[in-house]
């Protein structure tokens, strides 16, 4: 029995699939693929699957990570890859299958690209203004609906404003996680702006050192 780390893209029509629904979709794809998958023990046996970092509904991901467990140690990884690729719908693309190096608790950051219809000069300077702030405190709904105040600025590791994109590197992981929507909500609020539409793509998941999570 061994763990296999699957890297995949969740694009296009798939972005309307919530994280919970995604686990069901993946388990069916795995079942359909016929790879020698490991089932959890117990009365209601199901496929073991662990997503490194859930992706919000509405976001695309170009380098998502999921761990599965197969019962045959000798089963070649390229066969896992090919079998999964063969059954995926057009908007899920399996990129690679590897032996995991780090546990998911080593995840520290994630890169996001926010695409706007247009980032004009005004918006550009407001972004500059916003990201140079020392601290921006927002209310965040925690578990059990408790609202707590958090300063988001220390959780923004890097940002870059392009022609019509905003790239953010944010704290990510199971202990601490910053959603780009929270950053944008704070941005619109501080300047009293009517929120504009943007799309979000998570482009990579990084470890605590800021290196690609492997």
């Amino acid at each position: 029995m061994k763990n296999v780390r699957i890297y995949f893209k969740k694009m296009g029509r798939m972005k309307f699939v919530s994280h919970l629904d995604m686990t069901r979709v993946m388990s069916r794809l795995i079942k359909k693929s016929g790879i020698p998958i490991w089932y959890t023990e117990g009365f209601n046996r199901h496929i073991y699957m662990n997503f490194a970092l859930p992706l919000s509904l509405g976001y695309e991901g170009t380098n998502e990570v999921m761990d599965i467990r197969i019962i045959d140690d000798e089963y070649p990884l390229d066969k896992v890859l090919a079998s999964l690729q063969a059954v995926c719908p057009p908007d899920i693309e399996i990129i690679k299958a590897t032996n995991p190096v780090k546990p998911t608790k080593e995840i520290g950051f994630a890169d996001y690209v926010l695409a706007f219809d247009e980032i004009n000069c005004d918006l550009k300077s407001l972004f500059a203004d916003f990201f140079s702030k020392e601290s921006v405190t927002v209310e965040k709904k925690g578990k059990k609906g408790k609202v707590k105040k958090v300063d988001i600025m220390p959780k923004i590791k890097a940002c870059c404003v392009g022609d019509n994109t905003l790239t953010l590197q944010l704290v990510a992981g199971s202990e601490d996680n910053l959603n780009p929507a929270l950053v944008m909500d704070a941005f619109f609020e501080i300047f009293g702006l009517e929120p504009v539409f943007y799309t979000v793509t998570r482009t990579s998941i990084l470890d605590k050192q800021g290196n690609p999570f492997i």
Binding site: R13, V17, I30
Partner: protein
């Protein structure tokens, strides 16, 4: 609308996965390479429509053909409808996202009367004129099938073609005819006239209806050489009929998210209230091998880990034990679970019982439908109190503590005595539990009683019966409630006002078309959803059309009266229904098809249970 704007709209509504498409096994074709585009519409939400077996069968059947591209369409929920209307987004098909008004066919499946306003709403959202007579263009042709097509009269003004009975063959025959007529440059009228000659095709515009002074139907007159009656189609050989080897696997959770394996059509029982028990006659089974192979292929192509057997009464499958044995050979090994709804297990071998112990058990449920043996004889429901109590005993021994019972209220000849019988049966089950030394320790028993309101339906022996009024339904609810004296029994009912409307539409005639349209224009849609249903709007619509709904729902019809569906032939003869009605009033039961044939008329197809050796 470009993709980006479309997605922006989707992100502003609840459950965008309902409208996104792109699911596993959904079919994408090159539209320049197909001759016929078919929009298969289910007039309810995605979650309900995607659970429907008939739609899965026809979707795959059509798409097997290279020249047809069939796509799915569901009724957009209220929030998305608002967004669509505000942004001039016409109703589109999930696969291509193309507007369905440009398709060759727009087809609806009519599973329940309460979806009629959704049909109109979907036509309107598509940008298609509601009434057939206002649609001058050849396409789109509006077609509809499903159980409600057995009396489709309330929708007769809106739909060009109804398919009666099972669609696998007749639908394709009509599509082929369409291709031919389109190629030859014929008109829509010519096409409809030719289609009406195909068995199972009902073109309502080709029949004139006249009425008597008392409001009943006087005559149904076919125009020109249109056939006087239209006979439903059935599939004769269930082992040869097409069955999909793939289902579209949805991304979001739906009502029945699993492999659904059909095992037979029809029902031998003949419960007198049950429309399905009559309109799907005769019973035709699939063989064990067919079922086993089809279920296996579906599991492989979908990745589902659960199979549900589909039929009106699984226990009546003649080879149920060999079937389960065969399927368990591979399902256990592949971690696939079998769901066996309403399966009676009294006569199974110990060995099989042991094997299906691991089969996911749905709770302990019974549908006695009526509270006394007298009334059960009236409705021909052959469940006895003794059987129920005995099964409960076995189940309690096996650790069960919850029992669910389904009843109907307002059945013909029902008295307060019969209602009290419902409460008494519940009490007897509670008493049985406490009288057993082997009952699960430290646990209380719970009996939940669910009561729906009886709705008389066409093509049943009760088609002549009045539905009880809403006031009387309320009184009986209160009475039944007063009969229940323990907290161990919980009681729930189905809303009485929707049953009333269902009763009106089920036996309605063409004049109700105006009412449905008015109600829809007043904002009625999703009438089967309690959060959307608005009876006041419906009552206003009846009022404005000068139509008394009680005429349709609450009146006793004579055996001689011409019904609005008199020209539709569902194989069971009217004389049989009259005999059955008389037997009901005489409290006499009728044996099931396997015990003895009662000559209902369904043997006219030369197939099925009618020709089994008894």
């Amino acid at each position: 609308m470009d993709n980006k704007n479309f997605e922006r709209l989707l992100l502003s509504v609840q459950k965008p996965g309902r409208y996104s498409g792109g699911e596993i096994n959904s079919v994408i074709k090159d539209k320049s390479k197909v001759d016929v585009r078919f929009a298969f519409c289910f007039p309810d939400t995605y979650e309900i429509g995607m659970s429907h077996l008939g739609m899965k069968i026809l979707y795959s059947l059509f798409n097997e053909r290279e020249d047809i591209w069939c796509e799915r369409v569901f009724a957009p929920w209220i929030d998305f409808e608002e967004v669509m209307r505000a942004n001039n987004l016409p109703l589109f098909a999930l696969e291509s996202r193309d507007p369905i008004k440009d398709f060759d066919f727009i087809g609806f499946t009519l599973q329940y009367e309460m979806a009629y306003t959704n049909v109109l709403n979907m036509l309107d959202l598509a940008g298609v004129p509601l009434r057939s007579k206002d649609r001058a263009d050849f396409t789109p042709i509006i077609v509809a099938g499903g159980p409600c097509a057995c009396n489709p009269e309330p929708l007769a003004d809106f739909v060009d073609i109804f398919f009666l009975g099972e669609g696998e063959e007749v639908d394709l025959e009509v599509i082929d005819l369409y291709k031919e007529y389109k190629k030859e440059g014929k008109t829509k009228a010519e096409f409809l006239a030719a289609a009406s000659k195909i068995e199972g095709v009902y073109v309502p515009a080709l029949y004139d209806i006249s009425y008597n002074a008392d409001g009943t139907v006087n005559s149904v007159t076919p125009k020109g050489d249109t056939p006087a009656t239209v006979k439903k189609r059935i599939i004769k050989d269930m082992d040869k009929v097409y069955y999909p080897d793939k289902f579209v696997v949805p991304f979001i959770d739906i009502v029945h998210d699993r492999v659904v394996q059909e095992i037979f059509r029809g029902c031998v029982r003949g419960c007198r209230f049950c429309q399905a028990g009559f309109i799907y006659r005769p019973v035709r089974e699939k063989s064990v091998d067919t079922i086993n192979n089809q279920a296996k292929a579906l599991c492989e192509s979908t990745g589902y880990d659960e199979i549900s057997m589909s039929s009106l009464s699984t226990s009546d499958y003649t080879e149920i034990e060999p079937l389960l044995n065969k399927m368990l050979e591979w399902t256990t090994e592949k971690y696939v679970s079998l769901a066996l709804p309403s399966l009676r297990i009294d006569n199974f071998s110990d060995e099989l019982l042991e094997k299906i112990k691991h089969v996911r058990k749905s709770g302990l449920t019974f549908a006695p439908e009526a509270g006394t043996q007298r009334l059960r004889d009236v409705i021909n429901k052959n469940v006895t109190e003794e059987e129920i109590i005995n099964t409960c005993k076995t189940a309690f021994k096996g650790g069960y503590t919850a029992v669910k019972l389904y009843f109907m209220m307002g059945l013909p000849t029902e008295t307060d005595e019969d209602l009290k019988g419902i409460a008494d049966l519940g009490q007897k089950i509670v008493n049985t539990y406490y009288s057993m030394p082997e009952k699960p320790k430290g646990k209380a028993v719970s009996v939940s009683i669910s009561v729906s309101t009886f709705v008389p339906k066409p093509f049943t022996p009760f088609q002549f019966e009045p539905q009880i009024t809403r006031d009387e339904i309320r009184r009986r609810h209160e009475f039944l409630k007063s009969c229940i004296t323990t907290k161990k029994i919980s009681l729930s009912y189905h809303d009485s006002s929707t049953s009333f409307l269902e009763g009106v539409l089920a036996r309605g005639d063409r004049r109700l078309g105006d009412v449905v349209e008015k109600a829809y224009k007043k904002g009625c849609r999703f009438d089967s959803w309690s959060e959307c249903f608005n009876l006041d709007n419906w009552m206003d619509a009846f009022d404005e059309c000068g139509i008394d709904p009680a005429f349709y729902a609450n009146r006793t019809r004579s055996y001689e009266e011409i019904t609005p569906w008199e020209h539709l032939d569902y194989a069971v003869s009217k004389s049989f229904l009259i005999n059955e009605s008389k037997a009901a009033h005489g409290e006499r039961t009728t044996p099931n098809c396997r015990e003895k044939c009662s000559n209902c008329g369904a043997n006219c197809y030369g197939e099925g249970v009618c020709f089994e050796k008894r």
